[in-house]
């Protein structure tokens, strides 16, 4: 019957278009993030080939899992989370996590407030490479949070979703990361501040 047929056709129409729309939108949502995800990946891996592998795996996993992605939630944080989790379970990632400072984050005093200003010193002899090296040398947990906050300009909420940690942890980790970075940019790092944070982490890993 005519009436029946058109109902059936309508049903198919809706369903297929939904499937198609979804596939299209993964590409549409994911490709604009390509450059920044790649940049983040190479910061994590320190290596072009590994960064490419990491990004590729992220896109493959993203596409596969896209049906489980909740539309309306934060897609960028979702992609970064996939990339980061993939990295952390890779060989380089596992090695990198060995140097994470494992201080309890939620408790404990916040880093002391600084009265001297390494920033000024930095800007006098400012130097992109100097800053890049300092970021490179940060323990992975600090490096990633600095990049997500300052380079990707993610909100605390987004960072919290990306790293799967509460916002309080985001704040305290960010604060420590900034302090470590500032300390390492001092012309003569004082023994007992930045160096010890990193060293402590390293020993813990061993």
């Amino acid at each position: 019957m005519d009436g029946n047929k058109s109902t059936t056709a309508l049903f198919y129409y809706v369903d297929v278009s939904a499937a198609d729309r979804q596939v299209d939108s993964f590409e549409e949502l994911a490709m604009p993030l390509f450059d920044q995800l790649y940049n983040f990946a190479q910061w994590l891996t320190h290596n072009r080939e590994e960064a490419e592998d990491l990004v590729q795996e992220t896109y493959v996993k993203g596409l596969k899992g896209f049906s489980s992605f909740q539309l309306g939630t934060n897609f960028r944080a979702w992609m970064y989370r996939i990339l980061r989790n993939t990295f952390l379970t890779s060989r380089t990632g596992l090695k990198a996590t060995m140097t994470i400072p494992l201080d309890p984050e939620e408790e404990g005093p916040e880093p002391a407030i600084e009265h001297d200003t390494p920033e000024t010193l930095l800007f006098e002899r400012t130097n992109r490479e100097l800053l890049q090296r300092a970021i490179d040398e940060l323990p992975i947990q600090f490096r990633e949070i600095i990049l997500l906050c300052e380079v990707e300009e993610m909100s605390y909420q987004e960072i919290s979703e990306t790293l799967s940690v509460p916002i309080g942890t985001v704040m305290s980790r960010l604060s420590r990361a900034r302090k470590t970075l500032r300390d390492s940019l001092r012309p003569h790092p004082q023994i007992g501040t930045a160096t010890s944070t990193i060293a402590r982490g390293t020993n813990y890993g061993l």
Binding site: T8, A9, Y12, Y13, D15, V16, S17, A19, D20, R21, V23, D24, F26, E27, A30, M31, P32, F34, D35, Y38, N39, Q42, W43, R48, A51, E52, V55, Q56, Y59, V60, G62, L63, E110, I113, T117, E119, T120, L122, F123, T126, R128, L131, Q132, I135, I146, L147, C149, E150, V151, E153, S155, Y156, M171, L174, S175, R178, L181, R182
Partner: protein, 254 residues
């Protein structure tokens, strides 16, 4: 020190993550406290430096294409297969509708992007000409201007020979489009100033169409093309024929 309680939250404030009420009282405090405002300024500068230094690695165009292909094609078949068996005709019809809608969307988006890029280029052109020192390397000699860019931009390009043409080179400067560094050259033609911009194609966030339509509201004539991985823009208030002949000189030299 009185300000210590403020300083503790200074980074959170600069990240824009305090509650509205706190943001407002912080604004007021920073305005009236020289030491906190100086500190805030330094931290903002630090944030900016980190942001600039953090944008460090660019994927290759080849890699981008590979990923784009891998996510564009694969899943469609499996989604559709079941339906195609039962209602092939409907699916074809629907696919047709969707494709045209998709292409329609995409071209609208591309057009918006092109207009955006073109306005940026026009702004750079006008802004530079209005400046008291429009060029950083002042020379009519292409063999002086080209090496000047060495180490300042992440690519190299060739400047055309201008003998037997009416154009003369005034100089060049570094420029940025969408956070991408590039070269900006200024030419003179019978007192008209014409800008030529060169960027790395792969650093620009989206592809531009060769048939670049100049929005009517812009009174400039523009031409753009991509050659050898570089994206060129020629813009100026000279006639379309003049702009085109400068473009041709560039196309011939690179």
């Amino acid at each position: 020190m009185v300000c210590e309680s403020w300083r503790e939250k200074l980074d959170t404030y600069l990240d824009g993550e305090l509650h509205d009420q706190e943001m407002r009282s912080f604004d007021a405090h920073v305005r009236n406290c020289p030491s906190c405002s100086a500190d805030a300024l330094r931290r903002v500068q630090m944030k900016r430096s980190i942001q600039a230094a953090g944008k460090r690695f660019t994927p290759s165009a080849e890699f981008r294409n590979r990923i784009q292909k891998s996510i564009a094609t694969r899943p469609r078949r499996s989604f559709k297969l079941g339906w195609m068996l039962t209602t092939a005709a409907t699916v074809i019809l629907v696919a047709g509708t969707l494709t045209s809608a998709y292409l329609g969307n995409r071209s609208a988006r591309d057009l918006a992007y092109q207009n955006h890029v073109l306005s940026e280029i026009a702004d750079l052109h006008v802004e530079t000409l209005a400046s008291s020192s429009p060029v950083d390397v002042i020379s009519t000699d292409r063999h002086t201007v080209k090496p000047w860019f060495q180490g300042k931009i992440p690519f190299t390009f060739d400047l055309p020979e201008l003998k037997n043409s009416e154009f003369s080179l005034l100089g060049g400067r570094m420029t940025y489009l969408e956070q991408t560094p590039g070269a900006h050259l200024i030419y003179d033609l019978r007192k008209h100033h014409i800008s030529v911009f060169v960027f790395q194609e792969r650093s620009l966030p989206a592809r531009l169409d060769e048939k670049f339509v100049t929005p009517r509201k812009l009174s400039f004539t523009t031409e753009t093309w991509s050659q050898g991985g570089l994206r060129y823009f020629v813009i100026g208030d000279a006639s379309a024929a003049d702009i085109d002949s400068l473009a041709k000189l560039f196309k011939a030299s690179s």
